[in-house]
């Protein structure tokens, strides 16, 4: 057997599995989206039908808010732990990245424990102000949940990027007379831009498609993933669920692909 034949054979198992369980199903999904009572218009309905459009806008706005908040919080924290050495730093980093492997459902439960009916925030506010603050089961809880999900990932990305920064750049800037703020503005932040783009894409795409967290918090939160789920299970509107899934998939993939072409790094959402 020649080397070229061996290489070709090495790809056969992958090809079989990916074709059978991904490429074929995905094409079925795309076809199913166009096979409902609306036909191809099902795809247009995502934007035209007010109910769907509203959910789409809601989801996008929520995802943008999560992305922005994550970016700010994680940049401050990530820069801080990577650029300072102090006792307990390793523990702090471990704490910041610990929830990395939590699936969305568990994140949802964490939010319930924080802001749910028996949650910490409710407890504290009742003792302090006499009124119980509970917001886990609303869009606010979902916002907090996505934040919880994204912060560890983005902190890691920021830390990796800061570690790769060439300290000579900063030294060069200072030798040219730049003060601490100017160094931050003109050297550090521009050098971190690719990491920011990659992180934003991850946060945004994850927030757009995340299902587990929303599912745990409440089934009536008005976001795309829950809409798809209810269309499919409760409404039995398979065509619309398929069309919405395809739309969601395309958006998530496009955001990540776009970010990758800007940032050059491997960008992938998870969860």
């Amino acid at each position: 057997m020649s080397g070229a034949t061996f290489l070709r054979l090495s790809l056969v198992p992958l090809a079989v599995i990916v074709l059978a369980f991904f490429v074929l199903p995905m094409s079925q999904l795309i076809i199913a989206g166009a096979n409902g009572p609306l036909g191809l218009k099902a795809y247009a309905a995502i934007l035209l039908e007010p109910r769907y459009r509203e959910t789409l806008v809601n989801t996008v706005l929520l995802s943008l808010a999560v992305t922005l908040a994550t970016l700010v919080i994680s940049t401050i924290a990530g820069l801080f732990v990577q650029r300072n050495r102090f006792p307990g730093r390793a523990v702090l980093i471990a704490m910041l990245t610990f929830p990395l492997a939590f699936p969305g459902v568990v994140v949802g439960f964490m939010i319930i424990l924080l802001a749910g009916r028996q949650g910490l925030i409710g407890e504290v506010t009742q003792n302090l102000a006499g009124g119980k603050v509970v917001f886990a089961y609303s869009i606010g809880g979902l916002f907090l949940g996505y934040l919880y999900f994204s912060i560890p990932r983005v902190i890691l990305t920021v830390m990796a990027a800061v570690e790769k920064l060439d300290p000579r750049l900063e030294e060069a800037a200072r030798s040219l007379g730049a003060g601490p703020w100017a160094v931050q503005r003109d050297v550090i932040l521009p050098a971190l831009t690719p990491a920011f783009i990659a992180s934003s894409a991850i946060s945004f795409a994850t927030a757009m498609g995340a299902f587990g967290t929303a599912f745990t918090l409440a089934t009536n939160i008005d976001v795309l993933a829950m809409l798809i789920y209810t269309e499919f299970t409760l409404g039995a509107n398979i065509a619309m669920a398929a069309a919405l899934s395809v739309g969601l998939g395309v958006v998530a993939w496009a955001i990540l692909a776009l970010a990758r072409s800007f940032a050059g790094a491997a960008v992938a959402a998870a969860g």
């Binding site: 992958l14 990395l100 439960f109």
Partner: protein
């Protein structure tokens, strides 16, 4: 000097608050899982009853999750390592396209992938009802992590020349793969394996759609307990999940550190 001290303090406080946001609920759930009555607090006493109850209610989901995770690992190893080798050796546009396709399931929400699988194979009753249906979803979702982890190692060693030199010594393609390629891909295989097992154990988005009442996995059971069980049982169940996942996380961190050390030394 004063200014930098204040700045340092502010950043520290901020970072500690972030860490608290992440850690406190996890601690709460751990405590709640062993508290007699969470509403009355830890003063009500410590108990393992809830864990025992979780065991009677959900032991099968835990076992199944391990089964699925190990099967997923096996399949991704068998498919992923040869594929990573072939993609790396061939290179070029073809490999990039294949890589992009197999990475899509990470980018596309699990809900969409799961719907697609149901639409295609929902009619095959026996398959639909078995845990193999879940396995198919998990393999598709975790495969790119394995392939990429192995390819990342190939990018740091000169696989092509190693392969050529083994060939010059008379080794057939299969011998080369077995004797030289796979042993030298070990760090990537290990990292990929940890990733695959961790992701499979925690996978919910696909699994929720793919499971049947008889093929529940741990995260599916978790969602079930969050919706219908008292907080202590849900917490105890979550605690069990933490115990399963933390060693994997620690192992991943250690590997990450050691590879970083290695690359640091080389550069």
């Amino acid at each position: 000097m004063m200014k930098t001290r204040i700045l340092f303090g502010l950043q520290l406080v901020f970072t500690l608050l972030v860490a608290a946001f992440l850690i406190v609920p996890a601690l709460l759930s751990m405590v709640a899982g062993v508290t007699v009555n969470y509403f009355r607090g830890i003063r009500s006493g410590v108990t393992l009853d809830w864990i025992g109850q979780v065991w009677t209610l959900y032991a099968d989901t835990i076992g199944r999750s391990f089964e699925v995770a190990l099967a997923t690992l096996l399949v991704t190893l068998l498919i992923g390592i040869p594929a990573a080798y072939a993609l790396h050796r061939r290179g070029g546009r073809f490999s990039r396209v294949v890589e992009e396709i197999i990475t899509l399931p990470i980018a596309i929400p699990g809900l969409a992938t799961a719907l697609a699988l149901i639409l295609t194979y929902g009619g095959f009753g026996d398959f639909r009802r078995s845990w193999l249906f879940i396995l198919a979803g998990h393999v598709i979702f975790t495969l790119p992590f394995m392939v990429r982890a192995v390819m990342a190692v190939f990018a740091t060693i000169d696989v092509k020349t190693l392969d050529e030199s083994a060939a010059s010594l008379g080794a057939s393609p299969w011998r080369r793969f077995r004797d030289v390629i796979v042993p030298n891909a070990k760090p990537g295989v290990l990292a990929g394996a940890l990733m695959v097992v961790t992701l499979s154990l925690g996978e919910f988005n696909l699994t929720w759609m793919l499971h049947t009442p008889l093929t529940k996995t741990l995260p599916v059971g978790l969602a079930d307990s969050y919706a219908s069980m008292r907080l202590e049982i849900a917490s105890a169940y979550t605690l069990i999940f933490f115990v399963m996942i933390i060693p994997l996380l620690v192992a991943m961190q250690m590997i990450g550190d050691s590879t970083r050390l290695m690359t640091g030394r080389k550069s």
